[in-house]
């Protein structure tokens, strides 16, 4: 269906000669947005993978300033010896789940090994706190620099104000947008040329979540804590900050999953191409 089909019966004589209307192409993503998007994607991939390897050195989360093997974690991925052999257990609050093979106990180099997260998700795949930290802190710097470049440009060029910050009309359209998303109905024509309200809120949340990763990450640094002791206090202590670092990362992973699903639903070739070349083929209006 093309937009010309509707309401043009008999009025356009030249129409029959025209083979097929070319889709409207707009320049959607600025060079800097595209660049920082891909750097961010790679960086978050590495930070999640290396972060889970670091997590595996002490696969328990606590609330407060302190927490070690004598304290009660609210989340733990551990291996236990049972009469049926070793099992991997995931503890969430008072609940225990047998997650053998994935969490707590999984195969490392073919052998069942006690490890929080499995080898297929960590960087490097084998347990190595020292090297995982090298990965993590190098890419943490990249994340911060890339994020600052993005924010400086986005505020300076009013990208945030124009494209990301929801308008009043956007906010009023939230229920409508939720229904459209649930029906997997994607905007077309003029509406497709701007981010819809759920996109705006999702991208804003991502910016906040990344900022959250940085400040909770810094709260775990004993050096930075001496400079700003109020920072870990703000989160309820260093171990709370560590827990929030993990929960915030989980929120980012959830964002990525939804983001990728939406890309696929909205037309993966057009979407990915637009984030590489900047050019976006505006989906024609439905009849």
């Amino acid at each position: 269906m093309t937009s010309q089909d509707a309401g043009s019966v008999g009025l356009d004589a030249s129409k029959a000669k025209r083979p097929k209307a070319k889709p409207e192409v707009i320049y959607r993503h600025a060079m800097l947005v595209r660049l920082t998007h891909w750097v961010n994607a790679l960086t978050i991939f590495v930070l999640v993978g290396s972060g889970l390897n670091i997590f595996n050195a002490h696969p328990s989360l606590y609330w407060g300033q302190k927490g070690d093997e004598y304290d009660t974690p609210f989340l733990a991925l551990q291996a236990f010896d049972t009469p049926q052999g070793p099992r991997g257990m995931t503890q969430v609050g008072p609940f225990h789940f047998d997650t053998t093979g994935v969490l707590g106990l999984s195969r490392q180099g073919g052998e069942l090994t006690p490890r929080g997260w499995p080898e297929w998700i960590t960087i490097p795949s084998y347990t190595d706190l020292a090297d995982a930290r090298h990965w993590h802190f190098f890419f943490a710097w990249i994340l911060v620099i890339n994020g600052l470049v993005y924010l400086a440009w986005s505020f300076g060029s009013r990208h945030i104000e124009h494209d990301i910050w929801p308008t009043r009309a956007d906010l009023r359209a939230i229920p409508r947008s939720v229904i459209d998303h649930l029906k997997l109905k994607h905007p077309t024509g003029e509406a497709a040329k701007r981010y819809n309200v759920l996109q705006r809120l999702a991208y804003l949340s991502l910016i906040l979540a990344i900022a959250g990763m940085v400040v909770t990450g810094l709260s775990m640094s004993p050096g930075f804590d001496a400079f700003a002791p109020w920072l870990p206090q703000l989160f309820g202590g260093r171990q709370s900050a560590r827990a929030l670092h993990f929960l915030c990362a989980s929120a980012i992973v959830l964002f990525i999953v939804v983001h990728l699903v939406e890309v696929v639903l909205a037309g993966p070739i057009n979407e990915v191409r637009s984030m590489i070349t900047g050019r976006y083929h505006v989906p024609a209006e439905h009849d």
């Binding site: 670091i54 302190k66 347990t127 710097w141 930075f224 001496a226 400079f227």
Partner: protein, 267 residues
């Protein structure tokens, strides 16, 4: 060097043994990159960025947060060596460390040799601080000891000295939970002078009001509050002032540093 040998062994087992590099790693090649010394050197550049930034932020001698007595962990996890053992150390335990000496030598004008009793007579500092392990856990403890700056002043640090190296009585077999390089070795650590003379850097002999237990480093352990747990050397018997530590042990300035960890452990 042991580190490279192990990497080579791993590379061998992963390729030759036909072990599966799982999932994403087949595309991303994270393991191969990690085992490439030149790639790791690139990643390790971040340590320098972090150190410079934190040195700048902490320039004014910022203090680590000190807690209330009620915050102290009921039980404080002991990590690393839990008992150095051996004939000599066992005898020292029996003698109540009466014959333990802390030597301070190297690039100093007056080398010192002090007993624990002598240290206890010197002005002391007490602090309740949070101990942050590189593995991720934290515990809060109260520490009393002699400020290292006092000892260094008495010994007279010579110009050109840049680091204090701490030699310990324990031989550590590694810690499996950390993964990576686990070869046994004599524990040691080193600090830049700026951290060595920080007011909260003390040679502690008491923990929570009682003499240090063996598991926590009796009779003397280093406290360097603005860095991670592995810098807090236990069973300290000698402090050497040096201009360079590349000739000492593995050359990276500490037991864990020789096994791939950052020398600057402020993060």
């Amino acid at each position: 060097m042991a580190l490279l040998t192990r990497r080579q062994a791993l590379i061998g087992s992963l390729s030759g043994g036909g072990l599966l590099l799982a999932g994403c790693d087949r595309i991303f090649q994270g393991d191969a990159l990690t085992m490439s010394p030149s790639f790791l050197r690139v990643l390790a550049a971040a340590e320098g960025w972090t150190r410079s930034t934190q040195r700048f932020l902490l320039g004014g001698g910022a203090m680590a947060h000190e807690f209330k007595a009620s915050d102290i962990s009921a039980k404080f996890k002991a990590n690393g060596t839990l008992n150095p053992g051996g004939e000599d150390y066992d005898r020292q335990v029996e003698e109540g460390f009466a014959n333990w000496r802390l030597r301070i030598d190297g690039m100093v004008t007056h080398p010192l040799s002090l007993s624990v009793a002598e240290l206890r007579k010197l002005p002391a500092r007490s602090q309740i601080t949070r101990h942050d392990c590189v593995e991720g856990w934290s515990a809060i403890g109260g520490w009393t000891g002699t400020p290292l700056s006092l000892l260094l002043k008495a010994a007279g640090v010579q110009p050109g000295a840049k680091y204090a190296v701490f030699y310990c009585a324990d031989n550590l077999d590694g810690e499996p939970s950390k993964g990576g390089e686990q070869s046994p070795g004599q524990y040691y650590e080193s600090l830049a002078l700026v951290d060595a003379v920080h007011p909260q850097t003390i040679i502690a002999y008491d923990m929570n009001g009682k003499p240090l237990e063996v598991a926590h480093g009796a009779p003397l352990r280093l406290r360097v509050e603005r860095q991670l747990g592995y810098k807090h050397a236990k069973y300290v018997k000698r402090i050497q002032l040096v201009s360079d530590f590349r000739h000492i042990s593995g050359g990276h300035g500490g037991y864990w540093e020789d096994r791939g960890y950052e020398w600057y452990a402020g993060i």
